[in-house]
Structure formats: structure tokens, C-alpha cells
């Protein structure tokens, strides 16, 4: 279904929304998986360097957790889209997915603060560590890489189509 919708998604907004939904679903699935593991206890008590309870396993898992949330979704989804549906270069798809991920996380974060869930969870900050990272990653991929591969970007193709 997603394939058909994606194939027919000539409109850039629809395409972006579909990609956003895919990232959101993956994020929820991964978060649920971590929720039912030992990771919450490990992250809570065993990742502080100056603590006697520091465990390298917990620290490594935390890095993996962040890597999955910051990097893996664009890498995987861009790869899948490149293999099955898209003739664009992988890097240009990656740029688009990183931008979409940035948007999805910003939206989640916005809802989190708008509904004051942060106050309910005693000031717990969501994506607090990710804010600057995601901004920089999005910026780097969008600006620097886009300049190297301008011919592969949908936006250019769409502009060309509009010009015709």
C-alpha cells in the first residue's frame, strides 16, 4: 500500500508526509522495543562516568540507542526507497530523509511541550541532546551535500517540470 501511495505521490508534500509517517512508525516500534528491555534501568543508573555503578554495557547501549534514533531511520529508509522505488542517488534520498526526520522529531517535540508532558514527567526533556545534533546534521546534509549533487534532487526535477 505504501508502495502504491509512494509511487503515486507526485506531490512533494504527500511524499514528505508518507516518509514522515514511515519514520514515526519506526521510531515508535524501536522505542517500544527499548521500553520492554532492561535499557531504561541501565540508562537511568549505569551511564554516569563518575559513578561507581558505571557499566560499559549500559554506555554502549546508550550509544546504540542514540545512533538508532539519530541515524538509522534515514539510512534504512533511503536505502529501501533507492532499491525498490527510486532512481535518484542514495545520497540525495538520504538528504531528504534527514530533513523529514528533523521535521518529524520537531513535531513530536512540539506536541510534547504544547501538551506540557514535560511538566508531567518532572521536567524530562525530549530530544534535549538531539536538538543541536539534528539541526547540524540536517544543515550539513541539506546544504553541503546538495551542492555536490544538485542534479539528483527532486526539487530540481519538479522545478524543471513546472518550467515545462
Amino acid at each position: 500500500m505504501l508502495y502504491k501511495m509512494n509511487k503515486n505521490a507526485s506531490h512533494p508534500i504527500l511524499k514528505t508526509v508518507l516518509r514522515g509517517i514511515a519514520i514515526f512508525v519506526l521510531a515508535v516500534v524501536v522505542f517500544t522495543g527499548f521500553y520492554f528491555s532492561d535499557c531504561p534501568a541501565l540508562f537511568k543508573n549505569h551511564v554516569s562516568f563518575n559513578s561507581e555503578d558505571f557499566q560499559f554495557k549500559a554506555y554502549a547501549l546508550l550509544i546504540l540507542y542514540r545512533f538508532i534514533f539519530y541515524f538509522s531511520f534515514p539510512l534504512i529508509l533511503a536505502f529501501v526507497e533507492k532499491i525498490f522505488w527510486n532512481k535518484n542517488k542514495y545520497v540525495s534520498l538520504l538528504i531528504e530523509y534527514f530533513n523529514v526526520q528533523f521535521g518529524v522529531y520537531a513535531l513530536i517535540s512540539g506536541v510534547y511541550y504544547l501538551f506540557a508532558i514535560d511538566r508531567g514527567l518532572e521536567g524530562t526533556v525530549i530530544f534535549g541532546s538531539a536538538d543541536s545534533f539534528l539541526f547540524i546534521a540536517s544543515f550539513v546534509f541539506s546544504l553541503i551535500l546538495k551542492k555536490r549533487f544538485p542534479q539528483n534532487l527532486d526539487i530540481n526535477e519538479e522545478s524543471a517540470n513546472i518550467d515545462k
Binding site: P40, F43, K44, L62, L121, V125
Partner: protein, 106 residues
């Protein structure tokens, strides 16, 4: 801090059910073996008390017993005891605690 961990485990015991309760119960006697240095008469009386209690009550009795002995431990044992207690307190986490830990980690 140790008292706080004891209180955490007490709170966990109230909220825990089934598997989690059994896990806590299975972990506590190991602490008794390591850190309970009572006389054999006191041990016998404690054992009799525990025999006629349900699992939840047994856990509470073991915790009380450990708490009585805590001040007699040396520093090294106290540190090791604290780690063991922390491991037990991690068996049960509420939904709220789990969400908080995962959101904080992001």
C-alpha cells in the same frame, strides 16, 4: 542513600506482581546469606516468621532483617551491598520511570 534504595524496593514490592515479585523474592535470600550476620537463634526466629508469610510479606521481612544489619557492615561490604540492592531495585520500574529514563536518554 541505602535507606532510599530500601524504600524503593518496598515501594516496588507494593506495585510488583507475578514474575517481577518472584524475581525480587529470589534475589533477596542471596543478600541475606552475604550480609546477614545475626546469631543462629535470631536467624531461626526470622526463618519461622517468614515460613508463615506470603511472598510479598517474606520480601518485606527479609528487607527489615537486612536493614537491621546494615550498620554492622564494613565500608567494603556496604558498597557491595548498595550495588546488590540497586540491582534488585531495577527489577521493577513503573511505566512513568521507564518513559522518563528513555526520554532522558534521547
Amino acid at each position: 542513600m541505602q535507606i532510599g534504595t530500601f524504600e524503593n524496593i518496598r515501594a516496588d514490592l507494593k506495585a510488583s506482581k507475578g514474575k517481577e515479585l518472584n524475581k525480587i523474592y529470589n534475589a533477596l535470600p542471596g543478600l541475606l546469606d552475604k550480609y546477614d550476620h545475626d546469631t543462629w537463634i535470631k536467624d531461626l526466629l526470622d526463618w519461622i516468621k517468614r515460613t508463615f508469610a506470603d511472598t510479598r510479606k517474606r520480601c518485606v521481612l527479609i528487607i527489615d532483617d537486612l536493614l537491621e544489619n546494615y550498620s554492622q557492615l564494613n565500608d567494603q561490604d556496604k558498597a557491595s551491598f548498595r550495588k546488590d540492592l540497586l540491582a534488585i531495585s531495577e527489577i521493577h520500574m513503573t511505566v512513568y520511570e521507564r518513559l522518563q529514563a528513555l526520554f532522558d536518554a534521547l
